[in-house]
C-alpha cells in the first residue's frame, strides 16, 4: 500500500514554529549525532522526511518526537542549518494538537489571539467567581479562610482537576491509538511495563543520555520535584497548606516555590540570551508557559508574605490574582498546551516498550513449531 504525499503538511507544520523544513536535504547527520536515536526509533531525519512528504498518518503514529529532549546537537551540526531540533519541537506541538479531539490545542498553537484570549477568559472567570461568591473580607486581621474557605477552594480544585484530567486523558487515549496502530497488546503486557511509565515520568532519566544536557536535565528535574510537591500540597494537603496560622506544610511550600521561581526565571533568561540551542527558538506558547509558571509561583509566595505581614486586603487581592494566574495555567496548558508533555513523554516511552514486547510475543508465538 503506497503512502500519499501531501505538500500542504510543510506549511501546516510551519504554523507550529518549524522555520525551514525544506532546507533539509536528508543527509542524516542529525540522526547520526543524536545520542538518543537508536534501535527501532531513529530520528530526527525520519520525522523530517515524513514532514517533507506530508505523510500525516506516519507522523501521527511516530513516537520519535517524544523521545527527543532537544539537546540541540542536531541543529548545531546540520550542514543546511535546517534546525532539526526545532523541527522536532514544532512536531511535538503539532502532535499535541492532533491528539486533542477538541481542536482547542490547534487554536492555541496557531493563533496568539486564541492563546491570550482563552487564558484571559479563564482568568476573568476565576475573578468573577470571587467577585460573586467570596466570603466576608475581615480587615482587622488576615483571615484567608474566611475570604475563601478552604473547603470551597478544595471543591474547586477537584472540579478543575477532573476537568483537565478528562481532556488530558481522552487526548492521551487518542495518542495511545495513534502510537500502537494495529499492534494488539494484552493487559498483562501493559501492566508489566507500568514501572517504565512511572520511572520515566518521575525522573526523565532518558534525557540524561544526551551528551550536553546534564545541567538542563538537573534543572528540569528540580522543577519537576517542585511542581509535584506543589501539586500534592494543593490537591491533597490544601486544608493544612491554606492555613491562617502556620503549618509544617509551609516548609514544603517554600521549597517548591524556590525551585519553581528559580528554574522558570532561569529558563526565561535562557530564552532571552539564546545561549543554548534548546533556548534559541521561542514559540509564543513557550513564553506563555514560563510566564504563567513564574507568575503563579510569585503570586503564591506573595500571598504568603502578605498574610504573614498582616495585610488583610492585599492578601485577599493577591490570592485572587494568584488563582487567576494558576487556574488558566493548569486548565489551558496541561491538556491543550506545552504541559501535556508531562504525560505524553513517559506515556510514549511506555507505549514503545509495550509495543516492542507485544510484537516479540507475537513473533515468539508464530515461530513455535507445530508438532502433532
Amino acid at each position: 500500500m503506497s503512502l500519499r504525499a501531501d505538500p500542504t503538511l510543510i506549511s501546516e507544520i510551519e504554523r507550529f514554529g518549524a522555520a525551514d523544513v525544506s532546507a533539509c536535504f536528508n543527509c542524516g547527520n542529525c540522526t547520526a549525532i543524536c545520542p538518543l536515536s537508536k534501535g527501532e526509533t531513529v530520528f530526527p531525519r525520519k520525522v523530517i522526511r515524513y514532514l517533507q512528504l506530508g505523510l500525516t498518518e506516519k507522523l501521527e503514529a511516530s513516537p520519535e518526537p517524544w523521545l527527543c529532549y532537544y539537546c540541540g546537537e542536531c541543529s548545531e551540526t546540520c550542514p543546511r542549518e535546517a534546525n532539526p531540533g526545532e523541527i522536532m519541537m514544532a512536531t511535538r506541538r503539532w502532535l499535541i494538537s492532533r491528539y486533542d479531539w477538541t481542536g482547542i490545542a490547534r487554536k492555541l498553537y496557531t493563533s496568539k489571539v486564541w492563546e491570550v484570549g482563552l487564558t484571559l477568559a479563564v482568568s476573568l472567570f476565576v475573578v468573577l467567581l470571587f467577585v460573586l461568591f467570596h466570603g466576608p473580607m475581615l480587615t482587622d486581621r488576615v483571615s484567608l479562610n474566611t475570604f475563601a474557605p478552604v473547603k470551597w477552594v478544595e471543591y474547586g480544585d477537584w472540579i478543575m482537576a477532573a476537568t483537565l484530567s478528562f481532556f488530558l486523558l481522552t487526548n492521551a487515549w487518542r495518542l495511545r491509538r495513534f502510537v500502537m496502530g494495529d499492534v494488539r497488546a494484552g493487559p498483562s503486557i501493559y501492566l508489566s511495563e507500568i514501572s517504565t511509565f512511572l520511572s520515566h515520568a518521575m525522573t526523565q532519566k532518558r534525557w540524561r543520555e544526551c551528551d550536553h544536557s546534564r545541567m538542563h536535565w538537573l534543572k528540569h528535574f528540580l522543577l519537576v520535584t517542585g511542581y509535584a510537591t506543589m501539586l500534592i500540597l494543593i490537591m491533597v494537603l490544601l486544608r493544612w497548606f491554606q492555613t491562617d496560622g502556620w503549618n509544617v506544610t509551609s516548609l514544603f511550600g517554600y521549597y517548591a516555590t524556590a525551585v519553581l521561581l528559580y528554574v522558570s526565571a532561569d529558563m526565561m533568561i535562557g530564552r532571552l540570551r539564546k545561549r543554548h540551542e534548546i533556548h534559541r527558538h521561542s514559540h509564543p506558547t513557550d513564553w506563555m508557559f514560563l510566564i504563567l509558571l513564574f507568575l503563579t509561583s510569585l503570586t503564591g509566595i506573595l500571598v504568603h508574605l502578605l498574610r504573614m505581614g498582616g495585610m488583610p486586603v492585599p492578601t485577599y487581592v493577591m490570592y485572587v490574582i494568584h488563582l487567576a494566574v494558576a487556574v488558566p495555567m493548569l486548565v489551558v496548558e496541561v491538556p491543550f498546551g506545552k504541559w501535556a508533555h508531562l504525560l505524553y513523554r513517559p506515556l510514549v516511552i511506555y507505549l514503545v516498550t509495550v509495543k516492542a514486547k507485544a510484537k516479540s510475543t507475537v513473533e515468539a508465538t508464530e515461530t513455535v513449531p507445530v508438532t502433532t
Binding site: A23, N26, Y50
Partner: protein
C-alpha cells in the same frame, strides 16, 4: 645507409623504481649488450630527464651510434622526447625505436623473473627491428587556407570567431535557416542566468562583423573528399525560391560542431505520449517562457498547481531495464546538463508561479560544475520536495482518479523514506531528457569519422588529444563529442579553433611518413592492393609504356594513405611495404623473439 656499419645504442630506464623494482634492468641491458651491432647498452634512473637524454646525445657523438633503442614507458608519453634527443645527436628521428617495459611489463607482471624475461625479449625484438630502420622524412603537403565549420550553434560560432582572429577564412555550414542552435531556445541558462537568445545574438553579431567568416544557412553537407590540408566539402544550399544550389568548398581543416538533440522518450515512457500532461524539459522551458507571470500556468488547458520533474530520462540507461531504440545503442552515459537544468527550471517555475508545488524525482543529483551546487541548494530552499528512486524501480506515472488533487499519479519507491512506496498527485510531469548526438550526415561517412559506442564522435584520446579526431585535419567542438554544457562546449570550440589555426597558418602540413611505398621492380600491377584499400585515392594503378610495352604499376598518394597495411597483406609479390614497418622488420622481430627464447629465472 646499407653500406654503413650499424651501431646500436640501447638504454633501459629504471623509471625511478617503477620499472626496476620489477624488472632486473641490469640483466636486460647485459643481454642487449651481447647482441651483434650493439655498441652501447646502459641503464639509467630516468631516461626522460635531461641527463638521460644527454646520455643518448653524447653516445651518438662519442661512439658514432646510428640506431637508438630506449626501453621505458609508453611511447605516447615519451617517444617524441627521445626522437628529439636523437635529432640533437645529429641522426634522423626515425632511426629510433621505443620499447614499452613499464605499462606492458613492470606494471602488469607479478613475477620479477617473468617480467625480466619479457622485457629482454621485447628489447631483443626492438634491436632486430631497429637494424632495418631507414632515415625517413615527414611528408609535407600544401594546405588550403580555409576552415569549414559544420554547425552554427554556439560551439560552431565560437570556433569560427576564434579562427577568424588568425585571419583565416572560415565557412560556417548550418542546416537550419538560422544560427544559434538549441541555446537560442533555452530561456535563461545556468549558472549565470543570462538569456540564451542574448548569448547567441552576441555571437552572431560578432560573426557577422567579420569578413573572414562566410555563413551558409539552409545548407547541408552532401559529401567530402581529400585529406588534411586539402579537403573538398560538397554542400547543397537551399535558395529562396525553393531550389537548391550545389557548392564545393575547399578547406584545409574541418571543425565538426553538429551538436546534439534532446532524447525523445518512447511512447508510454513515464506516460509520455500517453498523457498530454507529460512533457520533456525543453518543451516545459518553452511553455514556462511563453506564459505571462500574471497569467495561469496551464498545460493542455489545465491549471498547474503541482508539478513533478523526473531525472535521468534517456540517460544512464541500463541494459535489462531500458530498451534501446531501433538502430540506436542504449544511452548509458550521464547527460551532465540535465540535473542542473532541471533544478534551475524548478526554481524558475516557483519564482514565476510561487503557488506551484514541485516534486523532484532523481536517481542521483550531479550538479558537478562551478556554481551548479548553488542551483541545487536554491531549488531546495525554494521548497522543492526531493524523492530518490533506484534505477530498477523507476517512478510509474498513471492517470489519477477524477476527484484527485492532480490529473496524474506518480508512484515511486523512495530511498529517502526507507524505500517506502510514495504516491504523488500532480498536474504536470516534466521529463529531464538526456542528450543524443545529432545526425552528422554524409560527412561522417565520406571522411570515415569514428564514433564511440554511444554514437557521439570520438576524439583520438580523451586526455592527451581531446579535440582531434583520428582523421587528421578534422577536429571536434561542442556536444557532437559528448554531453556537455555551454561553457564546456565553447571551451572545446576554442581549443578546436586553435588546433586548426596551428595546422593552417603555416600554409602546409607535415604528415607522418608511415605510408605505403611500392617497390617498382617487384610490382606486377595486379591491382589486388587497390581492391583492399579503404581510402579513396590513396592507391592507384598507373599505366605507362616502357620499351614499347604497357606496364602497370601501383602508385601511392602519400597524403591519403593512412599506413593501415591492408595492401601489404595481399600483395602476391611483396612489392608493397609500409615505411618504418616493413615485412622484413616484422620477420626480424619474430625471429629475435622465437629463435632463442629467454629463460625465465625463478623469483
Amino acid at each position: 645507409m646499407n653500406s654503413e656499419e650499424v651501431k646500436i645504442g640501447v638504454y633501459i630506464c629504471h623509471c625511478g623504481g617503477n620499472i626496476s623494482d620489477k624488472v632486473d634492468v641490469e640483466k636486460v641491458a647485459e643481454d642487449a649488450g651481447n647482441l651483434p651491432d650493439v655498441t652501447v647498452s646502459r641503464t639509467y634512473t630516468f631516461m626522460c630527464a635531461d641527463p638521460g637524454q644527454e646520455l643518448i646525445v653524447e653516445d651518438i657523438e662519442k661512439h658514432g651510434l646510428n640506431r637508438i633503442v630506449v626501453a621505458s614507458c609508453s611511447p605516447s608519453l615519451h617517444e617524441t622526447t627521445f626522437r628529439s634527443a636523437v635529432v640533437r645527436g645529429g641522426l634522423n628521428q626515425f632511426l629510433y625505436e621505443h620499447v614499452n617495459i613499464r605499462e606492458q611489463v613492470s606494471w602488469v607482471h607479478a613475477s620479477t623473473g617473468e617480467a625480466t624475461a619479457k622485457a629482454t625479449t621485447l628489447v631483443r625484438a626492438a634491436i632486430a627491428r631497429v637494424r632495418h630502420h631507414e632515415p625517413l622524412s615527414l611528408i609535407r603537403v600544401g594546405a588550403t587556407s580555409r576552415a569549414l565549420v559544420l554547425g552554427g550553434g554556439v560551439a560552431g560560432l565560437r570556433a569560427a570567431l576564434d579562427l577568424a582572429v588568425y585571419g583565416l577564412p572560415v565557412t560556417i555550414v548550418e542546416k537550419s535557416s538560422r544560427l544559434g542552435g538549441q541555446v537560442a531556445e533555452f530561456g535563461t541558462v545556468f549558472p549565470t542566468g543570462e538569456s540564451g537568445a542574448e548569448l547567441v545574438r552576441t555571437l552572431v553579431r560578432d560573426v557577422s562583423a567579420l569578413e573572414e567568416i562566410t555563413v551558409l544557412t539552409g545548407a547541408r553537407v552532401t559529401g567530402a573528399t581529400g585529406y588534411v590540408g586539402n579537403f573538398t566539402v560538397m554542400v547543397e544550399q537551399e535558395r529562396g525560391d525553393g531550389s537548391t544550389e550545389d557548392l564545393e568548398i575547399p578547406a584545409g581543416a574541418v571543425i565538426v560542431a553538429t551538436g546534439s538533440r534532446p532524447y525523445e522518450p518512447d511512447m508510454g515512457e513515464f506516460g509520455f505520449g500517453q498523457f498530454p500532461e507529460v512533457v520533456t524539459l525543453p518543451d516545459f522551458i518553452q511553455i514556462l517562457n511563453e506564459t505571462r507571470a500574471d497569467g495561469d500556468l496551464t498545460v493542455n488547458g489545465k491549471m498547474i498547481r503541482r508539478a513533478a520533474f523526473i531525472h535521468c530520462v534517456g540517460s544512464r540507461q541500463i541494459e535489462g531495464i531500458q530498451k534501446p531504440k531501433p538502430g540506436r545503442p542504449l544511452n548509458e552515459n550521464c547527460s551532465r546538463i540535465c540535473c542542473t537544468a532541471t533544478l534551475k527550471a524548478e526554481s524558475d517555475l516557483i519564482e514565476k508561479f510561487p503557488g506551484v508545488f514541485v516534486y523532484d524525482l532523481y536517481r542521483d543529483i550531479r550538479t558537478y560544475g562551478r556554481n551548479h551546487e548553488e542551483i541545487y541548494e536554491r531549488a531546495s530552499r525554494d521548497g522543492v520536495s526531493f524523492l530518490c528512486y533506484e534505477p530498477a524501480t523507476p517512478p510509474v506515472v498513471t492517470m489519477a482518479a477524477p476527484d484527485d488533487t492532480g490529473n496524474l499519479l506518480i508512484t515511486v519507491k523512495d530511498n529517502l523514506t526507507a524505500g517506502m512506496e510514495i504516491e504523488v498527485a500532480v498536474d504536470l510531469v516534466v521529463l529531464a531528457v538526456g542528450m543524443e548526438p545529432a545526425d552528422v550526415g554524409p560527412l561522417a561517412e565520406s571522411l570515415k569519422l569514428p564514433a564511440g559506442a554511444d554514437g557521439f564522435l570520438q576524439e583520438v584520446h580523451p586526455k592527451l588529444r581531446p579535440v582531434e579526431m583520428a582523421v587528421a585535419g578534422v577536429v571536434l567542438a561542442g556536444t557532437c563529442q559528448s554531453p556537455r554544457d555551454i561553457e564546456e562546449s565553447c571551451a572545446s570550440a576554442s581549443a578546436a579553433a586553435v588546433k586548426v589555426a596551428g595546422l593552417l597558418t603555416r600554409g602546409h602540413v607535415d604528415l607522418e611518413p608511415y605510408v605505403a611505398r611500392v617497390n617498382a621492380d617487384r610490382c606486377e600491377g595486379t591491382g589486388i592492393c587497390l581492391s583492399q584499400c579503404e581510402y579513396d585515392g590513396a592507391l592507384k594503378i598507373v599505366e605507362s609504356v616502357i620499351d614499347g610495352r604497357a606496364i602497370r604499376k601501383a602508385v601511392v598518394n602519400e597524403a591519403l594513405c593512412t599506413g593501415c597495411g591492408a595492401c601489404v597483406a595481399v600483395c602476391p609479390t611483396r612489392a608493397i611495404d609500409i615505411n618504418g614497418w616493413t615485412l622484413d622488420q616484422f620477420e626480424a622481430m619474430v625471429d629475435a623473439m622465437c629463435a632463442d627464447p629467454v629463460e625465465v629465472a625463478s623469483d
